[in-house]
Subunit: 258 residues, 2 copies
Amino acid sequence: MTDTEQADRRPASARIADELRRLIESGELAPGERLPSERELAERHGSARNTARQAIRLLSENGLVTAEHGRGVFVRTRPALIRLGNDRYSPRYRDTGLSPYLLECAKAGKAGRFEVLSVERTTPPAEVAARLNIADDEPSVLCRENVFWADSDPMQRVTTWIPWTIAEGTGLLLDDVPHSYGIHGVLEDRGHTMTRIYEEINARMPSPDERDRLDLPTGVPVLDVLHTSIDQDGQPYELTRFVLRADLSGLRYDVPVE
Amino acid sequence: MTDTEQADRRPASARIADELRRLIESGELAPGERLPSERELAERHGSARNTARQAIRLLSENGLVTAEHGRGVFVRTRPALIRLGNDRYSPRYRDTGLSPYLLECAKAGKAGRFEVLSVERTTPPAEVAARLNIADDEPSVLCRENVFWADSDPMQRVTTWIPWTIAEGTGLLLDDVPHSYGIHGVLEDRGHTMTRIYEEINARMPSPDERDRLDLPTGVPVLDVLHTSIDQDGQPYELTRFVLRADLSGLRYDVPVE
DNA sequence: TCACTCGACTGGCTTAAACCACTTCCCCTA
DNA sequence: TAGGGGAAGTGGTTTAAGCCAGTCGAGTGA
């Protein structure tokens, strides 16, 4: 009784969302399956289409469904995590000769690759210059922008800033970094040892630009990760910022028990 | 020209959102300041109120503004990060005698405290039992639920499972854990040394329940963090899950350069 | 057989109007 | 002076209608 009363005083959109949520969580609506259309949901509940739309927005914000323009609204499939731990440079990874991203993709049966958007010598933003401990009034950093793909999904946007004094002569200006371990592999080959000294992780909804570039469905937050490393001399040598979709890729740190 | 054309073919709500975004990023609308009301925005742009509303939703999803029922829409203040690195048990923290959360709150000039929601001996969920390497068919774990407050903001929801064999006799069943370093301090006092072996971080929109309990404004994602630790004998001794609002608390790992 | 077009369907955006719920503050009363 | 009531203003929800834009398949034509 109390339940019914409580349910009835809630907004209609919340009630529609609850019914759909129940169907999804009980498995009656399987992952990947299409929900009834907005118009059908509205008619079925005797509501306006906007009310059904609001219900779907609620589910979408909860990560249960994803809307695709012209196709329909679909139940989300379970997230596939991508490893992104703090032991990124540990021997466990180095031994494979692959970057952690490629390695995780391989384990998940996906084809991973970096697409280079741009490589250029630029003047860094003030915050980047400060963290890299360099002057920000001259074009003193190498800035690389990549997109990492897992199969056909754009997974993360990566921007890396490296002091020009470290980058010059490394071949990092090429579109195709000649090392399957990526930039870090090239730098290690040149005698640099790297230590992570700062990492910052935030979650937020994507900007329209990010939504475009990462091809994000509605309601998917992004993880915004920033980290810096120093080399063996204590000099900051790299600042990297990732923006990655949070539904297909989480962050994982997993130490095997020996 | 091209810009204008491009802008004109975009939805009106996106254009309103862009103008507000510009005002916010340029500082003309300062953090904490109130935006024009939906009705005023609509009239000013010659649009319907719903269109202004949609614009605000876009900004809200991007974490730029937050809507408060009956009061208005406000520019977000800059996130105050809470440290949550993998060096949680390092001497740097131990020396202070405070848990990392309390320490970070102190540094940020906020009063942090744990509110205990429940402490009980229960049967763990299957996944928890598996990670703690115990049988899941008897009430064999201590389960604690806390809410962590920073000043008057409910910041994170914490659930901790500890094998009963480890928990019994520690005083962990009390509402008030007798140690400012928290559960981990109590366990360390009893001779346990802990090592983080698994950490998983995801971002998603909150469930309605979480939105209630954490008192979340619209458009704020949560970070969902799960980790386990082992003791000196290699036995899993703890599984903790945090759900924390992503706008007031990020995750940070910060090693000072010596 | 291939390529294209078109129609039916999907979600996305907008309008205009109404009512509800919450907050704030002012004014009036006890 | 302290408290309560109410008005005004805010965001939240809903309705009903229309048009736009993307998807997909059936059918047509070369």
